[in-house]
Symmetry: C2
Subunit: 153 residues, 2 copies
């Protein structure tokens, strides 16, 4: 999987969280996930299907970061991940995959997206079942970490 394919997802997350959540994320370089565990508390997952490919995308947030984005969006200070936070992560997942899809379409990569699913649960992990590699991109911020994981067969 080449970097041309990965970058639109990174750019989309930086933009969405920056604009919607008024929170600056900084990303590490994409790398192959290899015995690495990316743990988080709320994740958006979306399946992708193209005519010659299929894949999966997950965006995982630590609770502290998800709650801070909520607070900056709505001015409301939450202590726990509730339905509003879940909806927000769903919206972020949709916007990131939609934004990346649009960019990739310009480069001739076409795929459709399934409906997103949101996982909530302290310290959960996600495994992408696939043939090939999973690419992981860690993000830092003033309020906690996030991870994108992406695989395409």
């Amino acid at each position: 999987m080449n970097v041309e394919f990965i970058n639109p997802f990174i750019t989309a997350l930086l933009n969405v969280v920056g604009m919607m959540g008024h929170t600056e994320l900084t990303n590490e370089k994409p790398r192959i996930k290899n015995n690495e565990v990316s743990m988080g508390d709320v994740s958006g997952l979306i399946g992708m299907v193209g005519s010659e490919t299929k894949g999966s995308l997950s965006i995982t947030f630590e609770k502290s970061l998800a709650l801070r984005i909520m607070q900056r969006m709505l001015g409301e200070k939450l202590k726990e991940i509730d339905e509003d936070v879940i909806d927000m992560v769903g919206e972020i997942t949709n916007m990131v995959s939609g934004g990346a899809k649009k960019e990739l379409s310009k480069k001739g990569f076409e795929f459709d997206m399934a409906t997103p699913m949101i996982v909530s649960g302290t310290n959960h992990t996600i495994d992408h079942i696939h043939e090939g590699h999973v690419i992981i991109i860690p993000f830092g911020s003033d309020s906690g970490k996030a991870f994108i994981e992406i695989c395409f067969e």
Copy 2:
């Protein structure tokens, strides 16, 4: 969403867990998920995309049930969800969605599947972001509960 669409997923899970895992599941009637929480410890998630529809499927197991199926398959008694259990849940997810796809294809419903993702984490929950309804099917067994959740737009 009509029952004709749901039944192949139920039949596939009963068959796969019965044949691979030597464990009899009994299902409740499918119902619309409505303020209901289906909590589990390991889940297989898969996105589905058709030409006129898209959706998502999750199969969630309580830890006790997942470990019992592993034990009955491999004769190995595990205490925690490890990579082997994750692979097994990935395989079950693939087989259930593949089996249902085959049956539904005969009835004229066509869809493609994304790659599965497996979530591990004590007491996690899954929200399907969708327009319309999520159908939930609870399953019981001698070793714990399982849930299918399915939504199609």
